[in-house]
Subunit: 140 residues, 2 copies
Amino acid sequence: MLETFETVSKAVADPSRVRILKLLEGGELCVCQVTAVLDLAPATVSKHLAMLKIAGLLQQRRDGKWVYYRLAERELNPCARKFLGLIGGCLNEDPTIEEDRRMLALVNAVPVQVLCNEGRAALASNAPASKAPSCCGGPS
Amino acid sequence: MLETFETVSKAVADPSRVRILKLLEGGELCVCQVTAVLDLAPATVSKHLAMLKIAGLLQQRRDGKWVYYRLAERELNPCARKFLGLIGGCLNEDPTIEEDRRMLALVNAVPVQVLCNEGRAALASNAPASKAPSCCGGPS
DNA sequence: CCATCATTTCGTCAGTTATCGAAATGACGA
DNA sequence: TCGTCATTTCGATAACTGACGAAATGATGG
């Protein structure tokens, strides 16, 4: 029991992994989507996801080339359930978490295939229109 | 906020520190009492306690030579409060935690001064009477 | 004042962890 | 069957952490 608690609490005791958990509160995401939001190397993100899964906090689903992760629902681990509940009630107004949610909105506006090919570059065109002076979408 | 969460969750993500928190659910204890139960070096215990205090999970009180720690009550940190609540509902049947509680009962049966002088040796006489064959307290 | 003693801080060591790039895996489509 | 591509695993590196003994701190009691 203490060992399980340790596994889960260590999994949660890292900002990148907490950001992932908060992202997944909005529904499942594939690895490349999470990677695009966090702006980390795919290998790093994959490892974080694996750790969260081992702790019983996440579940996995494969769909073609892509692997989707989501918050564990029927997880057998009562400790993990408690931690998920705690995190659900936390950090909802944290600047980093809010920024991640904004970034996620951009990510969701792009098909997964495009995102995987282009990475964060795929988001630029849909971004807050900070540039693009000449045409398309000006105040008319 | 994320930073605070990280501090608190890292503080909780260590078995020794969780054992301390569970011990203190029974009320305040001085450093040497915690040290006797955990069977770690005083410096190590002091560091753990300091970390838990910085995270807002513990409060401190000095009484003469001794420093007493207790679970934070009026702590301003909502994150710490949530974690304390979670831990309060966890691990109550964990073998290590139960053993710590048994050891704490022995520790509480000894005056603090004696405990500080003799360390764990002060507990032997009150222990499950595994030795002491000749006199005093036989079944008679 | 000074010695004592509980606690804390300092310095160090071994073990762990987050991160990355490179290579391996595994599923899809030609 | 073979190449492509998302994901994972491997290997290495830098930073962090838990543990300890030794020294510093700080309050008590003579």
